[in-house]
């Protein structure tokens, strides 16, 4: 069953067509990588699916329900999570407070004005639990802006997962990481997304082929090919458009 579908998705920025008849299908439980050269429209596709923009045309369906043009908070509430290519945490809050924000959302604690958040034992425990799982318990009380780049990226990814989404959309989670950090990040993603559906934009082909069950190639705003890794590796069209350049 498909957890996410887009049908005939178009998007333009004041006339400049960035997405062009995109029909994406993501099956429940799979790890789906989206690759493509710079400017192919990958992040725009993410933005349209996760509610940053409404598409100019077309439909987005999530869990069998049409969600075209829904706002991010509504999508999060029905189980979609997202991380950003450019790290987007609460920079002046501590690592703990960053993750706690996600936990509060997951527990649907929003307009609670009658208890101190520090006194909510279960929230604190759950947050500390998450911190331990992502190896950030040592940096618990450090402001996010003081974290090392690799740890900051881990926090970014973990915040997308803290709301316990069924589908997580990761926009270049390993962007700017060293080899070593990339390795750790991939392990982290593998561990945290157990049993979830993942859509991931990635440039690092090693990461793509080691992580993905299925790959979609986006080129000039259009889907060039979609299939299992082996098939994509062999596809001539893909080689011409993309893989050839990077010599994989």
């Amino acid at each position: 069953m498909n957890i996410l579908e887009t049908e005939g998705l178009y998007h333009d920025f004041s006339g400049l067509l960035v997405l062009f008849d995109v029909n994406l299908e993501v099956k429940e439980g799979e790890r789906h990588a989206i690759i493509g050269p710079n400017g192919a429209g990958k992040t725009t596709l993410f933005n349209v699916i996760t509610g940053t923009y409404s598409p100019s045309r077309g439909r987005v369906t999530f869990k069998g329900k049409e969600v075209t043009g829904w706002k991010p908070h509504n999508l999060t509430r029905v189980g979609m999570g997202r991380s950003f290519q450019i790290t987007s945490t609460f920079s002046r809050l501590t690592t703990f407070q960053n993750i706690r924000m996600g936990i509060l959302s997951k527990r649907r604690i929003r307009f609670n004005l009658f208890r101190k958040v520090d006194k909510m034992q279960n929230i604190t425990e759950e947050t500390d639990d998450v911190l331990k799982r992502i190896n950030l318990d040592g940096e618990r009380d450090l402001p996010a802006s003081m974290l090392s780049y690799g740890k900051h990226r881990s926090l970014e990814i973990s915040m997308a997962l803290a709301t316990d989404p069924d589908l997580v959309m990761l926009d270049e989670p390993t962007a700017g990481m060293s080899r070593d950090e990339t390795h750790h990040a991939v392990e982290l993603i593998r561990r945290l997304t157990e049993g979830k559906t993942v859509v991931i934009i990635e440039h690092d082909m090693d990461v793509v082929f080691s992580l993905a069950d299925r790959i979609t190639v986006l080129h000039l705003g259009h889907i060039l090919a979609s299939g299992p890794p082996g098939e994509i590796r062999e596809s001539q069209a893909v080689k011409d458009a993309y893989l050839g350049e990077t010599e994989v």
Partner: protein, 325 residues
Amino acid sequence: MRNNLSRWIYWVVGLVILAIYPQVVGIYYTNVFVGFAIFGLYAVTLNLLLGYMGVLSFGHAMFFGAGAYSTALALTHIQGFPLLPALLVGGLAGAMLALILCPLLVRVSGTAFAMLTLAFGQLIFVIALKYREVTGGEDGVGGYPIPSFNIPGVVSIDMTDQINFYYFAVTVIIVCLWLLWFYTKTPFGSLVVGVRDNAMRIDYLGFKLPQTKAVNLIVSGCFAGIAGAIYALFQNLVSTLGVLDIGTSFAPILMAYIGGLGSFFGPIVGSAILHLLEDVTFRITEQIELVNGLVFILVVLFAPMGIVGLLRQAKAKWFHKEKVS
């Protein structure tokens, strides 16, 4: 446990000092204190927007003024209007004004927010100035009866007595400050701080951004209105130039900035410093605004984190030194 005990001791000592303060310093400084406390509360409500949510309200006087005018008008026109409802009317007026404006205010941030609040602040100031049938224009509304604090059959305290009023005002302000402090500690309070740091992420974590901003605006407006109401009871005179003009909007910004935006109590410290400064200045020269302006410039230049920030820095340095030695 020890921590808890010392906290209790602080509270008790603080309350005792507040209780004997008017007996020690006399009427004049009792009134100075009330003025400081009113503006302390008012500056904290501004900091709820500036320090906590990251938007600058440049027309905050409209909430303060709405509260002050509502209380004054209620007391003028309704005979025998009681004391606590008079306060509530002020708070309600501030909250209502915020509620009316928030559909527009929640859409913007940064400079646009500052300008929009400035525009509304001036709009309300000019309207109040022109509709003198209601507001008395520049002369204002004054001389209304100040009700007694009345619990039927138990007690009736005369509020025109300045010492009595001191106790009443200080009690109300402490309760308000405690409520606001608690508010910043709730899960919702942490959300507001999240809006300051990264509004987009708040949306992506599943929280409704406009509603979150709106609630914080209304809370801020409501308590600014209560501060205005206490002011109306304290002065027994409310005029457009006194409660709605741009100076009344600048004052809490200055206080919050001097005290330090990063802490809840910073604006109160700022209010204390400005009131003390004003008192001292007044003995030397009448140019209080000149001194205020210079303080503004000096603080921005040399203490961008405010006094509380400076103290924290000094403390960190001090303790660091101790550890080393």
